[in-house]
C-alpha cells in the first residue's frame, strides 16, 4: 500500500480539500438505502408499500410494530456491529502493522465467544444479553495476550498472525468441547455462527454507547493512532508516547469487538476485509479517513449480508456470519492475490 503509507499530516490537509467527497457520499447513500430495504424485507412477506407505510407512519398498527419493533432494530444493530468490527479490524491492522489482523484472526472474537459459552454453561439463565461482561472479559484476555506479543517485538508480523490464528483455533476447540459436554450451550450454535436474528432495541442500547464513544475516540485520536503504522522508533522520534497510544488502540479493539460479539456472536471477515477495501478507495489515505470509511463500509457490508441471508434461505434464514464468510473469503483472496502483484 504505497500511497496509504505516506506521512499523514501534510497530505491529509491537502487531501481534505481535494477528495473531500470521495466515495463517501455514495456509500452513505447506499447504506441508507440498504437500511430502508432491510426494514422492508422479512419473513412475513409484507408488501413494500405497507412496510414503507409502517416505517414512516407511527400509527401503532401491526405493520408499524413489526417494522419498528423487529426489523429496524435488526438493521440498526447490523449497522452498529458492522461499524464496530470494521473499526476494530482497522485498529488491529494498524496497531500490529499486520494486514492479516482482525478481531477474528487475532482470536478476540473467539475469546469473547468462549467466555459467553462458558457463562451459559455455568449460569444457564443469564441469556445472551447478560453475557456482555463475560464477552468483554474474554475479548480483553485475548487482546492482552496479542498486545503483549506485538509489543515484545520478538514476533514478526507473520508470526503474530500465526499466533492469533493458533489462539483462535485453541479457543474454538474449547468452545466445541463445551458444546459437546453441556446441554445448555448447544442452543448457542446458531448464535455462534454470528447472527443478528435476536436483535431488539435493548441490544441496540447495549452496543450503541461503545460504537459512539469508541468511534469518536478513534476519529479524535486518529493522528496519534495513525502513527502506530510506522515502527515504534519513528513514532517515538515524532514525539509520540508509543506505548500509551498502542494501549489505547488495543483497548478500543477489545471494547469494539467485545460489545459486537456480545450482541451478535462472532461475525467474521467484516473486520478483515472492510479496512483493506477502505485503504484502496480514493481518499483512503490516513487513519481518520480510513476510520470514516470503515464506519460506513462495515455497516454497509453487514446490512447487505444480513439482507442476503434472509433472502437466500427465505422464509428461513442464514446466520449473517455465514454470509459474511461466503462473501468475505473470496474477496480477501482476491485482495491478497492483487496485493502481491503490486
Amino acid at each position: 500500500m504505497p500511497t496509504a503509507d505516506s506521512p499523514p499530516v501534510p497530505v491529509e490537509a491537502a487531501a481534505r480539500r481535494r477528495i473531500a467527497l470521495g466515495p463517501l457520499p455514495v456509500m452513505a447513500a447506499l447504506l441508507v438505502v440498504a437500511v430502508i430495504a432491510a426494514a422492508c424485507v422479512g419473513a412475513s412477506g409484507l408488501p413494500l408499500a405497507r412496510a414503507v407505510h409502517g416505517l414512516f407512519v407511527w400509527d401503532g398498527s401491526a405493520d408499524h410494530e413489526l417494522v419498528i419493533g423487529v426489523r429496524l432494530p435488526r438493521a440498526v444493530l447490523s449497522v452498529l456491529v458492522g461499524a464496530n468490527l470494521a473499526v476494530a479490524g482497522l485498529l488491529a491492522q494498524t496497531l500490529t502493522r499486520n494486514p492479516l489482523a482482525s478481531p477474528q484472526t487475532f482470536g478476540v472474537n473467539a475469546g469473547a465467544s468462549l467466555a459467553i459459552v462458558l457463562t451459559a454453561a455455568v449460569l444457564p439463565s443469564t441469556g445472551v444479553l447478560g453475557a456482555v461482561p463475560s464477552a468483554f472479559a474474554g475479548a480483553a484476555g485475548v487482546g492482552a495476550i496479542m498486545w503483549f506479543l506485538s509489543l515484545s517485538g520478538a514476533v514478526s508480523a507473520v508470526g503474530l498472525a500465526l499466533a492469533g490464528i493458533t489462539l483462535q483455533l485453541l479457543l474454538t476447540a474449547l468452545v466445541q468441547a463445551l458444546l459437546i459436554m453441556s446441554n445448555t450451550t448447544q442452543d448457542l450454535v446458531f448464535w455462534l455462527a454470528g447472527s443478528v436474528t435476536g436483535a431488539d432495541w435493548p441490544k441496540v442500547a447495549v452496543v450503541l454507547p461503545f460504537t459512539v464513544v469508541c468511534g469518536v475516540t478513534v476519529l479524535l485520536a486518529a493522528r496519534h493512532l495513525g502513527l502506530l503504522e510506522l515502527d515504534a522508533t519513528t513514532g517515538a522520534s515524532l514525539g509520540q508516547n508509543t506505548r500509551r497510544v498502542a494501549a489505547l488502540a488495543a483497548a478500543l479493539v477489545v471494547l469494539l469487538a467485545g460489545s459486537a460479539v456480545a450482541v451478535s456472536g462472532p461475525i467474521g471477515f467484516v473486520g478483515l476485509i472492510v479496512p483493506h477495501i477502505a485503504r484502496r478507495l480514493p481518499g483512503g489515505a490516513g487513519l481518520r479517513r480510513q476510520a470514516v470509511l470503515c464506519l460506513v463500509g462495515g455497516p454497509l457490508l453487514l446490512v447487505c449480508a444480513d439482507l442476503l441471508g434472509r433472502v437466500l434461505a427465505f422464509p428461513a434464514e442464514l446466520p449473517v456470519g455465514v454470509v459474511t464468510a461466503l462473501l468475505g473469503a473470496p474477496v480477501f483472496l482476491l485482495l491478497a492475490v492483487r496485493g502481491r502483484g503490486r
Partner: protein, 323 residues
Amino acid sequence: MRRRRTGRHLRPWHALLGALALLLTAPMLAACSGGGSATDAPPPAGAHAVRHLLGTTEIGGKPRRVVALEYSFVQALDALGVSPVGIADDNAPDRVTQLLGKKIDYTSVGTRLEPNLELVSSLRPDLIIADSTRHAKIYKQLSAIAPTIVLNSWEGSYQDIKDAVVTIADALGDRAAGERVVQRHEKVMAGLAARIPKGERRTFMLVVSTPDSMTLHTSSSFTGSVFRTLGLTPAVTSDSPQESGAGLERVAAVNPGVLLVAVDGSGTAYDQWKDTPTWKGIAAVRDGQVHVVDRNQFSRFRGLRTAEVIAQTVLENVYRADG
C-alpha cells in the same frame, strides 16, 4: 494403534487403552479403529436377521444387555419389558426418570452426540441401538462391540418411531410383542383424538425457544406428525422436521392458532419477545393459546408414551379436558 483390535485378548491392556482413549478426541478414535471390519465373528447359531436403516444385522437369541443411544429407544425398550444396561443420557439421569415415569438402574454412556465407546464396550452389550443422524459414522465401531441396529430417532416422525418399536422388538427376538405394543398405543391415541372437538380449524405449532431465536417444528417433525394423527393441522408444512434460527418476524408470519413453546431455563427468545407488540399480534397469543411446555417431553424424547403425553397436554391445555 493397530493393536487395539487384538486388545480383546490382553485384559491388562484395557485400562491403559482406556486411559489412552480419554486423551484422544473422539474423531481420532474413529479414525484409528475404523479399519476393522464390522463382522468379527461368524453369526452365532440361531441368529436372525434384522433389517434397519444401515443394512441387515444378524442377532443371536434374545438380547438382554441392550445399550440405547437415544431417549426414544429407551422408551421403546421399556414398553417391551427390557431395561437397558446403558443409555446415552446426556449425563442427565433425571431425564430418563422423566422419560419412563419411573427410576431405573443403568449406566450412562455419555452424551447422545458423542457416546463414549469405551463405556459402551465395558458394559458388554449384546445389542446396541443407534440413531441414523448422530451415529451413522460410528456404526462400524459400534458393530465391533456388539450387533448394532440403526434407526431414525433424531429426525424421526411419529410413524418412524412406531416402526422403530417393531424393529426393536424384532431385534429382541419377539416381533409380535412390538406389534402388540403399537396396536395398544394406537387405541389409546384414537381414544384421545376422539376427545378433540370436531371442526378444529386452527393451526398448531411447537417451537423450542433458545437464546436469541426459536426452532420451529414442522409437519414432518415428531410433534407435527403427532398433531396430524390427532386430526390437527401443523402450522408449517415442510419435509425437513425443524427450522432453526427463526426470528420473531418468522414466528409472527407463521401466525399459528395454537403455539406450544418448549423451554428449559430462562433467558431465551421467549422471554425476550413475549412483551413485544409483534408477539402479541400472533393469533395464538391473542386467543390465549400459548402454552409453555416441557422441552424434554415435547422435543427431546419422541416415543409412544411421549406421543400420549403430548396428546394429553394438548387436551388439558387447549381444550381444558382432563387427561
